[in-house]
Each structure stands twice: as structure tokens, then as C-alpha cells.
């Protein structure tokens, strides 16, 4: 079956190309669900492609519709002026009396003539239920609807028929059976926030996913937040971005991978915003373009608070590297915010995105709807290779039990959790890396310290099963320092003692050598002396002998002298 674009990207994806060409599509919904908007947007879209259309209004003044929709970026007034779109007022004149039954054939005959004249291929019958409700009999309404359906097929018109949903419940229950394609629009209140949805109820010959999808409206008209069931291709990078906290980068194995999504969860006051500001600061310094979206906190206040921990965001804003946007979470449903954000991202093209806190959206109604739109946003930024930091406010200390977080924590690549640890009359901030895909990350808890040098991480001490932080940590650090200096002193003392002993020994060696030399000298003197003594002794013996005239006897032989 040939399909014709609906003028709504998400709906084209949902329907596999658009409305069935040459057939009728039935759109039903309650008041303010966007039936007329959807119908006119389709006509404006096809008019831009050169296809003419006729818009038959049974409920509203078509001139009013054209005027009201003039604020959308469709050039509607131009299309009407050029005759591409023909608005037809099919309301009964005020005061028109009614007597008995009527038939639709006259209307169809007049339309056939207009269609032939203008060459239009698209038709909208907006609020046909208003006319059909005038029929006295139920069967007559159905008969006329069938006549319309036949007319559309015969003239090969791509037609949209809108009906109020309460009419579907009442006289027009058969209507959805007649259309080849049936779309239901709905709006419901959740937590005082209006959630608009669209469901493809049926589509002859095409699959219907069977889910209600979030709808958002902006100056481009109605938007369906749907990217299809096929997993979109995320960009994957090997380079990393600094978290803005040096030791955290080390714990993460070098920082956050570019293009990944980081969830920073924590209870109020645990420095989630400060941590994201640090990341933004580091990113801007590294030449990235950042977009920081804050819910319910003014940008100026974030700038001031960050300054107190030595993070200068104002500089990046002035340099044009950083765009800061503050939004009121409660003023629109999550789907509107996300749709709006996607458009802002499209304009600014940031490489780093912070949403602080994403939990504001999560609390804004419809859990399943929020999950799907947050998923959509994450897909949206990942496809574009944008690194995302999403903060989330949690109430309990155990983030894994936080139901609101289940989905976003599943899709986040890195999950940092911040807690307060109370001990010794203090509350200190502790940081844990719950997960970090693709990084060998530390499993150790660190204390997040905020001071005028900026945020940093400190080791924590465990003592008797209690984690020590803050003052207790400082005391413990001082204690450790004392032990270290005492050890150092001991070593120094011992070292100098040993050195002195070596010097002393060397001195002793010198003294002994001197003694050896002295004694050697003494010994040689003794040798000389001995030689003289022998000589003198022999002379005396010879002299005595001569005096006694004794013959010369054997010579006195002294024992061999020591040499």
C-alpha cells in the first residue's frame, strides 16, 4: 500500500510511511487532543510538496482555524492564499432549523466538484460527528459514514476524518471499523500535568506496535516522540572527558568515555550540581561546547554557587562555550520538555549536556511515558556523540531501591552515587562509583571534599567497621602523619649513629696502621743495635785472649740474630 506523509516525523515512522494513500484515516480523541492540528498539519505538509487539499470544518470557523494555526511554521496563510489549501465552512448557519433526515451525498457532490476544480488529492473532514449527530436515526449516521468512505476510495483521496472520542463510545461505535487506518489521541492528567498521547489503533495491512506514545506540541506543530522499535546506532568513542575532579578521573580509569551517559544520583545537598559544574568547567576548558539545563534553579545562582568552589562558569558562558538554560519542571510534561530540549540541542549542537536534575522530569507524571522519553533523549544525544551528565535526586540512601531511577540507571553508562555519611557529629559527602561500563573502575568509597580549591576526593578510613570522614578523617590523617614522622626520626638517629661508628672504626684503623709503622721502625733499630753488640763482643774476646797469650781458640759464635 502506498503511504502519504503525515507531516509528523514520529507518526511517519509509526505508520511505516504515513497515512494510506487514497484511503480514509480516522482520528478520534477528546477535546484539546490535537485532532484538528494533526489534520491541518498533514495538509500543510502536503501543500509544501505541491499537493492540494480541502479542509472541511463542521465544528469551528475555518478562518479561525487558519488564523490560530498561523503561529505554526507551516506558511498556512500562504497555502490558503495560493489555493493549495481550501478551507470549507460546513457548519450549519446559525439558526438553521432541522426537520427530518438529510443525506451526505449533496456534500460529497459539491466536494467532488471542488476537488476536480482544484486538483486536490487530500481531504480533511474535521468534526464530522457534529453533522452526523443531527441525524435522527443511528443507522443513518453509519450509512453516511459508509457513503463518505466509498466516496474517498472512489476519488482516491488521502483523507482524514476526525471524530470526538465520546461519539465513538456512543452512536459512532462502528466508525473505527470503517477506516483503513485509525488513530486515537488522548490527554490525561497525572500529578496535575497533562499528558498527551497517540496510539495507532489499527492500520490495515501494516503492523501496529500497540503502545500509547507521547505527543508534544511546539511551533512546528504536533510531534510524536517515537524513533521506532529498531535500536538506534549510538556513536562510540575511545577518548575520554575529564569529570573535572582529578582523582575521580583516576578512579574511572581516565574519565568518562566521550558519548556516554553519566547518572549522578544523590539526596539533596550532596553536590550533584557542583559535580556536574566541575565536568562542564573541565569540558569547556578542553574546548568542548556544553549545554547545562537546570530545572527549577536559576542559571545565575548555579554560577554563583559554583564560584564558591573555584569553578568559573560565567567565563565559559561569555566565551560562548557554555549555554545555560533554566526551566520550570512543573510547567510542562516530561515529553514536552524532552521535545523542547531536543530542538535546543539541534540548535546549539553541544558535545556535553547536563540535565540537572533529570528526576524533575521523572516526577512529572506517567512513569512508563517518562521512561520512554528519557530513553528517547539518551538515544538522541548518543546518536550525536554527546556526553551526557544526568543528575537525579533520590530520597533514600539506597539508590538501587529508588523506583523512579530504575530505568535511567539502566540506560546510564556510568552511575555515580553521592551520599551523606553521618559520624562524630558531622555529615560528610561520600562518592561511590556504582557502575562504569567499559572502564576498570575503583570500587572504593571516597569522600567528596568541597573547598575553595574546587571539588576533590579524599581517602576514607575505616575503623571498627565505621567509615571515617571529615574531622574524623583529618584526625586520623594527623595521627598517621605523627607515626610517620616518628619513624623517620628513628631512622635518622640510627643512620647518624651508624655513620659515626664507621668514622670511628676508620680512625681506629689509622691508629693501628701508625702503630704497625712505629713498631716496624723500632724493630729495625733493634737489628742495628744487635749488630753492634756482636761486633763489640768479639773485639773484647780478642783483647783478653791476647793479654793471656792464649792461642786463638774457636771463635765465639752467637746464636743467629733475628733479622
Amino acid at each position: 500500500m502506498q503511504k502519504c506523509s503525515t507531516g509528523v516525523d514520529g507518526l511517519d515512522i509509526l505508520t511505516g510511511g504515513g497515512y494510506p494513500c487514497g484511503r480514509s484515516t480516522l482520528v478520534f480523541g477528546g477535546p484539546g487532543t490535537g485532532k484538528t492540528l494533526l489534520a491541518m498539519q498533514g495538509l500543510a505538509h502536503s501543500a509544501s510538496d505541491g499537493q492540494g487539499g480541502i479542509f472541511v470544518s463542521f465544528e469551528e470557523d475555518p478562518d479561525d482555524i487558519v488564523r490560530n494555526f498561523g503561529s505554526f511554521r507551516w506558511d498556512l496563510a500562504e497555502h490558503v492564499a495560493s489555493g493549495k489549501i481550501t478551507p470549507v465552512d460546513a457548519r450549519l448557519r446559525p439558526g438553521t432549523a432541522i426537520s427530518g433526515g438529510f443525506e451526505i451525498e449533496g456534500l460529497l457532490g459539491i466536494l467532488a466538484a471542488r476537488l476536480a476544480e482544484s486538483g486536490a488529492t487530500r481531504l480533511v473532514l474535521d468534526g464530522i460527528d457534529i453533522l452526523l449527530a443531527l441525524e435522527p436515526g443511528r443507522q443513518d449516521g453509519i450509512r453516511q459514514l459508509l457513503a463518505i468512505e466509498r466516496f474517498i476510495r472512489d476519488h482516491k483521496l488521502t483523507a482524514l476524518i476526525t471524530l470526538k472520542s465520546d461519539e465513538i463510545g456512543a452512536g459512532m461505535a462502528i466508525a473505527p471499523y470503517i477506516g483503513d487506518c485509525v488513530i486515537s489521541l488522548d490527554r490525561r492528567m497525572e500529578n496535575d500535568i497533562s499528558i498527551s498521547t497517540l496510539e495507532l489503533v489499527k492500520y490495515r495491512g501494516s503492523p501496529t506496535p500497540g503502545v500509547r506514545l507521547p505527543v508534544a506540541i511546539d511551533d512546528r506543530g504536533i510531534a510524536l516522540l517515537y524513533e521506532g522499535a529498531r535500536m538506534v546506532e549510538h556513536k562510540v568513542f575511545d577518548d575520554r572527558l575529564s569529570s573535572g575532579v582529578a582523582r575521580l578521573d583516576t578512579m574511572l580509569g581516565g574519565g568518562y568515555y566521550r558519548g556516554t551517559t553519566v547518572l549522578v544520583s544523590g539526596s539533596p545537598g550532596t553536590a550533584k550540581t557542583t559535580l556536574s559544574a566541575a565536568t562542564v568547567d573541565a569540558a569547556c576548558k578542553a574546548g568542548e561546547t556544553a549545554l547545562m539545563v537546570s530545572f527549577d534553579e536559576a542559571a545565575a545562582q548555579i554560577v554563583r554557587n559554583a564560584r564558591s568552589v573555584n569553578i568559573d562558569l560565567a567565563r565559559h558562558v561569555e566565551a560562548g562555550n557554555l549555554t545555560m538554560i533554566s526551566l520550570r519542571a512543573a510547567l510542562a510534561p516530561a515529553q514536552m520538555h524532552i521535545h523542547h530540549l531536543c530542538k535546543i540541542i539541534e540548535d546549539i549542537k553541544p558535545t556535553v549536556l547536563v540535565i540537572d536534575p533529570v528526576s524533575s522530569l521523572i516526577k512529572g507524571g506517567g512513569k512508563s511515558m517518562v521512561d520512554s522519553v528519557v530513553q528517547l533523549l539518551v538515544d538522541y544525544i548518543k546518536v550525536r556523540g554527546i556526553t551526557g551528565v544526568l543528575t537525579a535526586l533520590v530520597d533514600s540512601d539506597n539508590p538501587e531501591h529508588e523506583v523512579t531511577l530504575t530505568h535511567v540507571s539502566t540506560i546510564a553508562d556510568t552511575w555515580l552515587h553521592l551520599t551523606f555519611v553521618a559520624h562524630g557529629g558531622e555529615r560528610n559527602r561520600a562518592l561511590t562509583i556504582i557502575k562504569s561500563r567499559g572502564s576498570a573502575h575503583s570500587n572504593q568509597v571516597r569522600e567528596l571534599v568541597l573547598n575553595s580549591d574546587g571539588p576533590s576526593l579524599a581517602d576514607v578510613y575505616t575503623e571498627g567497621g565505621v567509615v571515617l570522614m571529615g574531622t574524623a578523617r583529618l584526625e586520623r590523617e594527623a595521627e598517621a602523619a605523627t607515626v610517620r614522622s616518628r619513624d623517620a626520626y628513628d631512622i635518622f638517629t640510627k643512620r647518624s649513629g651508624e655513620a659515626a661508628a664507621i668514622e670511628e672504626a676508620k680512625a681506629r684503623i689509622a691508629a693501628l696502621e701508625a702503630e704497625v709503622a712505629g713498631r716496624t721502625k723500632a724493630l729495625s733499630l733493634l737489628d742495628e743495635l744487635e749488630a753492634k753488640v756482636v761486633e763489640i763482643g768479639e773485639d773484647r774476646v780478642d783483647a783478653v785472649r791476647r793479654s793471656r797469650s792464649a792461642d786463638t781458640g774457636p771463635k765465639l759464635v752467637l746464636p743467629e740474630a733475628r733479622r
Binding site: S99, G101, E103, E105, I110, L131
Partner: protein
């Protein structure tokens, strides 16, 4: 002088009924009425320009203001009242 226009869709059931009912009602009236019957299937432009889209539609042009009556006109008294003869 009363001037009427009846817009019908060929031989569609309610249009035929309306034409018959109107003729009967006019026959009972003792005033002069000018009636033009317009088949929108043949003269769609005339219907379009008169702001008539649904049939059968009876339009009373004069006396002013223009009044419209939609339907098969089964209730002859109502038709007579509309035409203005019995007021």
C-alpha cells in the same frame, strides 16, 4: 413575495422526500411563493456559493433575513411556519 431555493442531491432519498413534502406544503398555502430547485450534483458551484453543503436544504431568501431549513421536511406544519405563511 416569498422566494425559496431548495438544494437537493439528485434522487437521494431525503432530497426526494423533501421535494415532495415541500410541494405539498406549498399547495396548501394560499400565498404566492417563488421556488427554485437546485440539484447540487449538477450545480455544485451554486450550492457552494450559497454556503449550502448539506442536502436537502431549503433556503428562504426573502423576506430577509435569509433562513435555512435542513432535512426531509416530514413535519408539514414546521415547513409552513418556516416559509412564514402561518405566522
Amino acid at each position: 413575495m416569498i422566494s425559496l431555493e431548495l438544494f437537493i442531491a439528485g434522487t437521494a432519498a431525503n432530497s426526494s422526500k423533501a421535494l415532495n413534502n415541500l410541494k405539498r406544503a406549498l399547495a396548501d398555502l394560499e400565498i404566492q411563493v417563488e421556488l427554485a430547485v437546485v440539484d447540487v450534483l449538477h450545480e455544485p458551484k451554486r450550492a457552494w456559493e450559497s454556503g449550502v453543503l448539506v442536502t436537502p436544504m431549503l433556503v428562504r431568501r426573502t423576506p430577509a433575513p435569509t433562513q435555512m431549513l435542513l432535512g426531509s421536511m416530514d413535519d408539514v406544519t414546521q415547513v409552513a411556519a418556516f416559509i412564514g405563511a402561518t405566522t
